[in-house]
Amino acid sequence: MDPKTYKFDTLSLHAGYQPSKNAGSRQVPIYQTTSYMFDDVDHAAALFNLERGGHIYSRMSNPTVQVLEERVCALEGGTAALATASGMSAIFLTIMTLCNAGDHMVVSSQLYGGTVNLFRLTLPKFGIKTTFVKPRDTEGFKKAIQPNTKGIFGELVGNPGNELMNMPEVSKIAKDAGIPLIIDSTYQTPYLCRPFEHGADLVVHSLTKWMSGNGSSMAGILVEGGTFNWMQNDKFPNMTEPYEGYHGLSFAEEFGPTAFTMMARAEGMRDMGPCLAPQNAWNILHGIETLSLRMEKHCSNALKMVEYLSNHESVAWVSHASAPGHPDKELAEKILPKGTGSMIAFGIKGGKEAGAAFIDNVKLASHLANVGDARTLVIHPASATHSQMDEATLKFAGLSHDMIRLSVGLEDFEDIVNDFENGFRAAKKPRLVANK
């Protein structure tokens, strides 16, 4: 006897949506709408006071965006989700819901550059401080926890160095300290890893990347696992104390496993307003329909690329958790059994100059500041995504000047290789490059 609830691929196509409630439309309609009629004064009052569910105004929620929220929630195995205008706003909203001025976060040092800036430079303006810990330094996460620490944040596979954070172990540390573990799972998507199954309490995504897969739209999402008990200690007054904005509502008491998302929407969306446009939600939903198919191909192409690069005379080193000798290979096999994703970092012989020449001479691979497109992307982080960082921060983030970051796309493998051969050939010739 087994439950007949729908499984992953079915959920990617159907979760969150019933045609019968939408004029029979098989595809999700785009509610390009801002506001929703109240039945009467009593209905309006009830909606505003969270007595009933429903839409009021698209800054808070929108019917098309809601489908996306439920779909990602279903795929992640979460209780509730809140979609946002971008991945960055999902992270910001999460931290602003969790923390108050005077609070502290423990954060993995290998993160998307924008996230590093948020924790290092922007959050301190709001009185929220951060201690960075290297992703492999599991004990370091424990040591960095202070009495005012409100959570641990990290990317499972660090960007762009491909170092793994030991999520199951770090989650135990968070549990012992009575604080939630928040994972940015952009690079994995729920197809490769469902962090709630490994002890995470909250998950954030930039949906701009693999979830969408088409490079058309910005979006982010916060997903709640429903696993964290906010009432276990007195660290989370935002969740447990009466909230003046809703007549003394205690989110934890009333909403339990969905309290965090309810609070993030009721306060964060209301006051900060980074809502997702319905058209963008729809574009992302389109991408999610083929998530499994795409991720499979991303991963198989990535494995072939790792092999090709590892054996290439112009390549000094290759970093991918599947690569032979990668220090996290064993952990990766345990928590990422379907594949470790399609992000590869490699060092090109000849350093910074060779790197620049390579980038300028590949034609099929696109040189741009994104990852997770269906097309193959390349970038030289030291001169682009991470260029705001000084030398020391670069090093701490696991970056080097010869590093090229590669996001393997869905093209025919042979075509990518032919393109790379042109790049490597050009990289061997001397050329002029800016030198700061």
């Binding site: 008491e253 969905t258 929407r265």
Partner: protein
């Protein structure tokens, strides 16, 4: 709100309003393995409209301490004690699933205290599939998965939560797993339901305004069982919600609230 019932630290949600024993009292009783949180889309509404609300956590459930009660009869009697414990004389009861058996028992044992009865997804008997019962009694979380599958209709399985962003199946599953050892909550509750044989007898004795809200796609307590129970209750009012499973209080929260509002307005109105 925390208070003592039979010396046990008990939690009940008051729907976001301070408890006031001078207002008409409504008590909401959750189903097997669940807690007060299933009622949020009904309780806050009534709490902000002049009623005193207690969405209780049965002993051993949710935020209440103590051990789970072992029989439906005991649970019914315990709900009667809740009314005394908060200094009230009477209450209107609302139950879901197992909570229907419990509230019927309470109304049967304490007819003087209970003014109206609302039964959501109820049946006269709730025999459990033996395999499901065993899974729950051994704290196997597959019991939760099966329960979520059977308890939800199309809204649960596909989606469309009344509260934007929430996902039915996983909310339900986390509510049940709030307590680590589900054998102590779900296991005990399922056994109590399976053992309870007095449903129809209790139903026949009821003599108060009774409302039955049923879902036509309910697999836990199928529509025909719900109707059979309603047939045993004198003058009961029956509403069937189409395309809806066992969790009508969440899956079709708006319709459920409208039906409840009009029933309570008629039979348990606020004093002028």
């Amino acid at each position: 709100m925390r208070f003592k019932v039979r010396g046990i630290d008990t939690f009940a949600s008051t729907g976001g309003r301070p408890f006031d024993k001078n207002k008409p009292l409504m008590i909401f009783v959750h189903g097997s393995g669940l807690s007060h949180m299933v009622w949020v889309l009904q309780t806050r509404y009534f709490a902000f409209r002049g009623y005193s609300i207690l969405a209780i956590d049965l002993p051993g459930h949710g935020l209440s301490s103590g051990e789970s009660l072992k029989t439906i009869e005991e649970m019914g009697d315990w709900v009667g004690d809740v009314i005394d414990a908060v200094g009230c004389k009477e209450a209107s009861l609302v139950g879901h699933s197992q909570g229907c058996l419990v509230t019927m028992e309470c109304a049967k044992q304490h007819p003087e205290k209970i003014k109206t009865l609302t039964l959501m997804g109820g049946a006269g008997a709730i025999p459990l599939n033996p395999e499901l019962l065993e899974l729950a009694e051994t704290s196997n979380t597959k019991a939760v998965d099966l329960m979520m599958d059977w308890a939800h209709g199309p809204a649960g399985h596909f989606g469309g939560h009344p509260v934007p962003g929430l996902y039915h199946l996983n909310v339900g599953s986390m509510l049940v797993q709030e307590k680590k050892e589900i054998k102590d909550t779900l296991g005990v509750d399922f056994r109590a339901c399976d053992n309870y044989k007095n449903g129809f007898e209790a139903a026949k004795k009821l003599d108060l305004p009774t409302l039955c809200i049923l879902g036509d796609a309910d697999k836990m307590c199928p529509l025909k069982e719900g109707k059979k129970l309603a047939d045993h209750i004198k003058g009961s009012e029956v509403h069937v919600i189409n395309n809806c499973g066992h969790m009508m209080l969440l899956e079709e929260a708006d319709q459920t609230l409208e039906i409840l509002k009009s029933f309570i307005g008629k039979h348990y109105p606020l004093k002028k």
